[in-house]
Symmetry: C2
Subunit: 207 residues, 2 copies
């Protein structure tokens, strides 16, 4: 006896769209960009291709929707992590460590993200869409870094945007490393970030 056994058309479609998204998350994670067909995704949700094409233009577009959700979560998490009043360098490192946690906590997503990233490398239109989102997240992070730095009265020698670019690059590189080589030491990213930020602050002091 649900509250609305009868759904309006829009609700219906929204529901199937949700179902498709959820199945896409699972199926894409499991089989990957190349091996997961549209039939697979729709089938997993209990629908057919018809439903898929009625809701999404392509696998790429679907992924971008998933991406928006993930990035929104990510930004929230970062905002919260840096809202406590630790030392600024610790905060920057925490952002990185949070990345690490996110990466290790969702290996499947990570793999998928890298797949679509390399995919974007060869598909101009998709590349632009992906980049727009990456930029948004990155500048969001940069803003936070800049704000925290200002609060701490520090003038960094290297622009926050560049720092967040580097952090992202490191994160993605480490992610790939860990996917390829399970013997990769857990502390790799942590140590790497510590050294990096140590270098940053040393540099700032010498300047």
């Amino acid at each position: 006896m649900s509250a609305t056994p009868r759904l309006t058309r829009k609700e219906q479609q929204a529901a199937t769209r949700e179902a498709l998204l959820e199945s896409a998350t699972r199926v894409l994670a499991e089989k990957g960009l190349q091996r997961a067909s549209i039939d697979d995704i729709a089938g997993d949700a209990g629908f057919t291709k018809g439903a898929f094409y009625a809701n999404f233009k392509s696998k790429e577009e679907l992924f971008l929707v998933m991406l928006d959700l993930h990035f929104a979560e990510r930004l929230d998490a970062i905002e919260q992590l840096t809202s406590n009043h630790d030392a600024i360098t610790d905060q920057a490192e925490q952002v990185g460590l949070d990345f690490l946690a996110a990466l290790r906590g969702d290996e499947e997503w990570c793999r998928l993200f890298l797949e679509f990233s390399t995919h974007a490398t060869r598909h101009e239109e998709f590349r632009e869409q992906l980049m727009a989102r990456r930029d948004a997240l990155r500048s969001g992070v940069a803003d936070i870094l800049a704000r925290r730095a200002a609060e701490a009265g520090i003038t960094p020698t290297i622009p926050p945007d560049l720092v967040s670019r580097m952090t992202f690059a490191m994160a993605h590189g480490v992610a790939l490393e860990q996917l390829l080589d399970e013997s990769t030491p857990d502390e790799l990213f942590g140590t790497m970030l510590r050294m990096f930020f140590l270098g940053l602050s040393t540099d700032a002091q010498n300047a």
Copy 2:
């Protein structure tokens, strides 16, 4: 009037194998792992699938051969770069900068390498083969780092193997970044490495 207008069988096959490798380098770079079919590669070399399968088991195997050639070059270059007698930290950074030069100088190869890397993520057998090669290169670099450090009388706080792992991870992350976003500042990797190695030496001094 070439010296050997008549080729023995082995020479013939070696020649077609070379031709296939060369075409593979070009075609794979241009179309990528997914879009370059075996027909394409063989066709570009003026052969057919028959020739391909007579010489290689699969696209993966062919790539591994290409990889061996590249890695051998890489290791030579690193050996030479560190053979001069600069400061150890500069040397480490030089290795990184050489990586950068290699990456930017051969963007196509870089892209291809990342494609096969993510591919390896989902194909266990290939992953192992790729990893074996990566490990070989990485430990080669680690050996060089360790040797130079010893010559300079420095005891690093972080094992060279870990350092080379990190450098690789950074390089790959930056590579992806630059492939996706052409507005990525050129000095990104250089600055990143400088900060990282600055952090390393600061840490070593404090220890």
